[in-house]
Amino acid sequence: MPVTNETREAVAQLDRKYEAGFITDIEMERAPKGVDEDIIRLISAKKGEPAWMLESRLKAFRHWQTMPEPAWAKVKFAPLDYQDAYYYAAPKNIDRPKSLDEVDPKLLETYQKLGIPLREQEMLAGVAVDAVFDSVSVVTTFREKLHEAGVIFCSISEAIRDYPEMIKKYMGSVVPYTDNKHACLNAAVFTDGTFVYIPEGVRCPMELSTYFRINEAKTGQFERTLIVAEKGSYVSYLEGCTAPMRDENQLHAAVVELIAMDDAEIKYSTVQNWYPGDENGKGGIYNFVTKRGICKGKRAKISWTQVETGSAITWKYPSCILLGDDSVGEFYSVAITNNYQQADTGTKMIHIGKNTRSRIVSKGISAGKSDNTYRGLVRIAAKAENARNYTQCDSLLIGHNCGAHTVPYIENRNPGATLEHEATTSKVSEDQLFYCRSRGIPDEEALTLIVNGFCREVLQHLPMEFAVEAQKLVAISLEGSVG
């Protein structure tokens, strides 16, 4: 969609600094630094978890201690000191508010600065928001309306308490704790997250949205999201992320699991603008996220759309396991890196069922001294008759000091599969910039226009309100990269 006037206006008003870089002054309750079995017991006790959950956490933690760091990504950083971070932090004076009126006004103010006025969203946009402030889910809106439809939309802590059978059945079924070191740490120390359950035949009556935000210094955020869509159901889920400016690097290791049964469809959209570090590469979030969905049933569909503009390092590969016959997986991605940011992102499409189809459209934009890698795997199992994949990877370079890399892996065990791969690399040309400027469009606005055009195919898969925000983010993240 086109860059709207409102977007231009909003961008013009933005400070050149990271807009979400403020710290909310709310008393926090937090566990001592570091992670060991006692800390995990404390987290579990704070959340009033049943014994089976604590056991599951401890099992993951013991395994985590034996695991090596993942090494495949083209990213560079000093080894993480896991004992120099806090693993539990919760706003102190919040005791499960029943409505927005009970929420600390300062918290609401924080969200307003982020441009997500909950009140307004509640009234105007019809978006149910489950806002995660550091580790505890503080407010959940629209519960009742969703309840009428039979949809469960709650924090993962509540789900552990209220729907233990479902959590036992599904949590860790798509991303087991043994998957990789970051996912394993999450399984041990996750503090909150979101659970969504859509019953058979139900089309979720509204877009579901969660805003994640890391506030406390040196707090890792380890949220966990689990979405289960029963037969013939549909849900669209939006996830936005921001964090204030900090000098040190903070770890964000989330796990997202999606499960789609026969004829179900899950659309998962992410706009990520965690603090990227300053122009010299100091600070910023390490965004090490494991996201995976399984199309368990026939004709199921999972669609990932992501706009990744923030974080010092982004390491994520939202993937689809296409188990059911005729199931469909999609991945639409925009990753923008500037200054010293590094992104290694892509997807895995695992074709197991017959007639499974997948589509990958990745747009990488590198500016400054950044490095941007697309890494993707398409695997066709021997029994995946008539599987099809289409992959398109486009890279756009701005300036002379950045890097763009495309690393596609293809493993095909079925000769009947159809695989297409297209890749392009281009530069924002002097011709294009001059053409726009000769029409009166100033240089940074011209660059934003050109880059938004480059990303259009992906941005148009975002829900409307997110698409506008994403366009703003494109402008903000490219500031200072021309002229």
Partner: protein, 249 residues
């Protein structure tokens, strides 16, 4: 309106314009004709302010402003418009978005509020219809997959939408068949006005059959060699540029 005095300009350090002097008054249509390599396109880029085209001597005054050091967008805001010889493709940006962004950028530079979406669409519809353009064309990426004729028509559409004070047409006739040429010329003629001047850069006399100039200049070796009325164009068509380049025709 536009006054160019003893203009020397370099492209990548090579001097291309070597003392060009030219004055265009409000409402006049000037044609600059010349052989390949005479500096015609360089002149258009120097006037529009393209990076890499540097004025080393002389002065360009437009509407009383010395524009020699101005950014392209500042010149556009003053009312200079360049119709490109080779219009540039911008994939994923629809022609409508591009036009609207440009219209609003100019309004902003003039301290005016943004155009309302309704007014914009009305204006766009009117201008598109005048140029006999298909509305479908507005939804496509700027110049992406356009034929040569469509690209040139898109330049004239932008000209009509942005209403500049000085329009520079750089070889707008190149690559056009006779029908497209007539449409483009009619579009330009419709924009002729008391307060709008044109600088038409062309190699051939053909376009000048449809857009009648007030003044014709011959540019060769980086300088204006001769200035005359419309009859000069016909003379050039007859005799070629050999007299000015010192080469046999």
């Amino acid at each position: 309106m536009l006054k160019i005095e003893n203009l020397h300009a370099t492209v990548d350090g090579r001097e291309v314009l070597k003392g060009l002097t030219l004055e265009i008054n409000s409402g006049e249509v000037h044609a600059i004709m010349g052989p390949n390599g005479s500096g015609k396109s360089t002149l258009s880029y120097v006037l529009a302010g393209r990076d890499g085209y540097d004025v080393t001597e002389g002065k360009i005054t437009f509407m009383g402003h010395d524009i020699g050091e101005m950014a392209p967008e500042e010149r556009a805001a003053l009312g200079i418009f360049l119709a490109f010889q080779y219009p540039v493709e911008i994939p994923g940006v629809t022609t409508t978005t591009f036009l609207k962004t440009a219209v609003n950028a100019l309004r902003k530079a003039h301290g005016a509020a943004e155009i309302s979406p309704v007014d914009f669409l009305k204006l766009q519809k009117e201008k598109t219809a005048q140029l006999g353009m298909d509305a479908d064309f507005l939804k496509r990426g700027v110049n992406v997959g356009f034929s040569g004729g469509e690209k040139k028509r898109n330049e004239v559409l932008q000209l009509a939408m942005l209403q500049p004070k000085l329009a520079i047409l750089d070889e707008t006739d190149s690559g056009l068949d006779i029908d497209a040429l007539k449409v483009v010329a009619a579009g330009v003629n419709a924009l002729r006005a008391e307060d709008r001047s044109f600088l038409i850069i062309t190699h051939y006399q053909r376009l000048l059959n449809y857009i009648k100039p007030d003044v014709v200049h011959v540019l060769a070796k980086g300088k204006i060699q001769r200035t005359g009325g419309p009859e000069l164009a016909l003379e050039l068509e007859e005799n070629g540029y050999a007299d000015f380049t010192g080469e046999a025709a």
